[in-house]
C-alpha cells in the first residue's frame, strides 16, 4: 500500500514527564496530564494558546480529551481519544502526524496520566467481565504474559535465567536515570528468588506499579525548525492488532510486532541493523524477548540467548530500554508514552550518563492489552529527513 505520510511534514518538538512514582493523595490523572502538557510546552517554547489538537488516553478517564479540554480551557480543532492500552500513544503519534500534514491542526499535544500506585491497580484499571475468562481467575495481565513465556520456554528452551537478564539490564539502565523508581542494583539470583506471581513470572519479571504521566508536543516540520530544541521526526509507522483476549492469540510466541515492525521499517526505508537505540515496552521480561525476535534483531526463538551476557544492558552491543523501562523506571499502567519521551531525548543527546553515542535513529515499540496491540514508530534526527 502506498504511504501518504510525508517524512518531515511533522515533528516531535517537546517532551516531558509529569511527577513520577508516588504522588500526593487526591491527585487526579488529569492533574498529571496538565502538568505534563505544561512541561512539554515549556520544553519547546510554545504556549497553551498555541495548542489546537488534543490526543490523550488513560484507563482512569474514558473521555480523556474532554477532561483535558475542560481543565486547560482549550478549544481544540482536532481530538483523538484512541484507547488500545499501552500502545495508544504510538498510535497517537501517527494520527497527529497525519492531522498536521493535512492541515487539520498545527500544534498537537499527546498526553497520559495515572495514579494507579496511589489508588491501586484494581481501582485504576478495572477489568471488563468476560465469561470465557472470569471463572478461571487469571491474574491479568500477568497470567497472559506468563503463558506466552511458558510457551516460549517449551518451544525454544528459553530459561528463567534468560528472562531475569532482561530485568537486570533494565535495572542497570535505571541506575543511570535520576527519576527512576528503583535505586538499588539487581542480580539474576535475586530475580529467581523473588515471589512468584504467575509461573514462570516472578514479581521481578513484572513491571512496576507507579503513578505518573507525561506529554509530547508535535507540530509541522516548518514550525519545528523555529523552536527551542532539535526536532525529532516520525519516519516509520506500523500497526499490528492481533486479538483482545489471550485465548484468541494464534501463536503465543509470535506477536503483532511481526506485522507492525516490517510496516514501520518499509516506511522508514530502514532495517533492524540501522537502528541506533531501541525502546521496547517491557511490561514483563518476556516482552522484549518476543519483540527483539519479531522486530528482526534476532531470529525467532533466539531472544533468550540474545539478551544474555548483558547484550541489551549499558555497554552491551544493543542499547534497549535506556530509561530503565517499565521494569525499573516507572510504569503507571499504560507505559507507551514514556518510551517515546526517552527516544526523543536520546536522539537529541540529552540523556547524560546513559546517552547512546551519536544516536540518530530510534525504534519505539508500544504494546497494549495482553500482547494485543503492537505499534512500531521509527523516529529520526534531522539527518534522516
Amino acid at each position: 500500500m502506498e504511504n501518504l505520510l510525508k517524512r518531515g511534514s511533522a515533528a516531535i518538538v517537546g517532551v516531558a514527564e509529569s511527577d513520577l512514582g508516588l504522588v500526593a493523595p487526591q491527585t487526579s490523572p488529569i492533574d498529571l496530564m496538565a502538568q505534563g502538557v505544561m512541561r512539554a510546552l515549556d520544553d519547546c517554547g510554545l504556549q497553551l494558546s498555541d495548542v489546537d489538537a488534543l490526543f490523550a488516553a488513560t484507563s482512569q478517564a474514558r473521555f480523556s480529551t474532554l477532561h483535558l479540554k475542560e481543565y486547560l480551557g482549550l478549544n481544540p480543532r482536532w481530538n483523538d481519544n484512541t484507547q488500545i492500552g499501552g500502545s495508544s500513544f504510538e498510535a497517537h503519534v501517527a494520527h497527529a502526524w497525519a492531522a498536521i500534514q493535512l492541515g487539520q491542526c498545527e500544534v498537537a499535544v499527546i498526553t497520559y496520566g495515572s495514579t494507579q500506585r496511589s489508588v491501586s491497580r484494581a481501582a485504576a484499571s478495572p477489568r471488563e467481565y468476560n465469561y470465557y475468562e472470569a471463572p478461571f481467575k487469571p491474574f491479568m495481565p500477568t497470567t497472559a504474559y506468563a503463558m506466552a513465556a511458558a510457551r516460549h520456554m517449551h518451544q525454544y528452551g528459553t530459561t528463567r535465567e534468560q528472562l531475569a537478564e532482561v530485568a537486570v539490564a533494565a535495572r542497570q539502565w535505571a541506575l543511570m536515570n535520576p527519576v527512576a523508581w528503583e535505586k538499588e542494583p539487581l542480580t539474576v539470583e535475586q530475580v529467581l528468588a523473588s515471589r512468584m506471581v504467575s509461573n514462570p513470572l516472578s514479581v521481578r519479571d513484572c513491571c512496576l506499579v507507579t503513578d505518573g504521566g507525561g506529554a509530547i508536543v508535535m507540530t509541522s516540520g516548518e514550525r519545528a525548525k523555529t523552536l527551542k530544541k532539535k526536532p525529532v521526526y516520525p519516519i516509520g509507522y506500523g500497526e499490528g492488532l492481533s486479538h483482545n483476549s489471550i485465548a484468541s492469540m494464534a501463536d503465543l510466541t509470535v506477536t503483532g510486532a511481526a506485522v507492525s515492525g516490517p510496516r514501520a521499517y518499509a516506511m522508514a526505508g530502514l532495517k533492524a541493523a540501522d537502528i541506533d537505540v531501541v525502546e521496547l515496552y517491557d511490561a514483563f521480561t518476556i516482552t522484549p524477548i518476543l519483540f527483539l525476535e519479531d522486530l528482526g534483531f534476532c531470529p525467532k526463538g533466539e531472544g533468550g540467548r540474545f539478551v544474555s551476557g548483558g547484550r541489551i544492558a549499558p555497554g552491551g552491543a544493543l542499547p534497549v530500554d535506556t530509561n530503565g523501562g517499565g521494569l525499573s523506571y516507572c510504569h503507571p499502567g499504560m507505559y507507551g508514552l514514556f518510551i517515546l519521551i526517552e527516544a526523543v531525548r536520546q536522539l537529541r543527546g540529552e540523556c547524560g550518563t546513559r546517552q547512546v553515542k551519536d544516536a540518530e535513529t530510534a525504534l519505539v515499540h508500544g504494546n497494549g492489552g495482553v500482547l494485543s496491540s503492537q505499534i512500531t514508530c521509527i523516529l529520526g534526527g534531522p539527518s534522516t529527513v
Binding site: A150, R151, S198
Partner: protein, 129 residues
C-alpha cells in the same frame, strides 16, 4: 444469522453446558471451527454457523500456576480442542504445578461458583500423570 431477540451466542453455549455438552460453532463455508460463539464467522462473515458438540478431548497449549496465600496454587491453561479451537480453562484434580504443555485433557461441565453463576467448562487429565 442468530436472532438476538431470541437467544445470544453465549446463551446458547450455556444452555448446552447445562445439559453437560460442550458446544462450539462450525462454518461449513470456511470448513472451520469458531470459538467463542458469535453471530458470524470471523473473516468470512458467514452467518450460517452450525452448532456442534465437542467430543471433549483437547491438549494443553500453555499453562501457568498462581500462588494463593495460605493455600494451594491454582492452574490456568489454554486448551486446544481436537476440533480445532482454543479456550481458556483449568485442569482440575491434579497439583497445578503438574499441568504440562502437551498434556491430553478431557472436558467436564462445572456448575457456577455462586448459585446464580452460569456453568463453565473445565478439564481433567485424560491419561495418567
Amino acid at each position: 444469522m442468530m436472532d438476538l431477540k431470541q437467544q445470544s451466542p453465549l446463551g446458547k453455549f450455556i444452555e448446552h453446558l447445562k445439559a453437560g455438552e460442550f458446544a462450539f460453532q462450525y462454518s461449513k463455508a470456511d470448513d472451520k471451527a469458531v470459538f467463542y460463539p458469535r453471530v458470524v464467522a470471523p473473516v468470512s462473515g458467514d452467518g450460517a454457523l452450525e452448532w456442534r458438540i465437542s467430543k471433549g478431548l483437547g491438549t494443553v497449549y500453555s499453562t501457568t500456576w498462581i500462588p494463593v496465600k495460605d493455600g494451594q496454587p491454582y492452574n490456568v491453561a489454554l486448551i486446544d480442542m481436537d476440533e480445532g479451537f482454543r479456550l481458556m480453562s483449568r485442569v482440575e484434580d491434579i497439583d497445578a504445578k503438574l499441568v504440562k504443555i502437551g498434556m491430553r485433557v478431557n472436558f467436564r461441565a462445572r456448575a457456577g461458583d455462586k448459585p446464580d453463576d452460569p456453568p463453565y467448562p473445565v478439564f481433567t487429565a485424560a491419561e495418567g500423570v
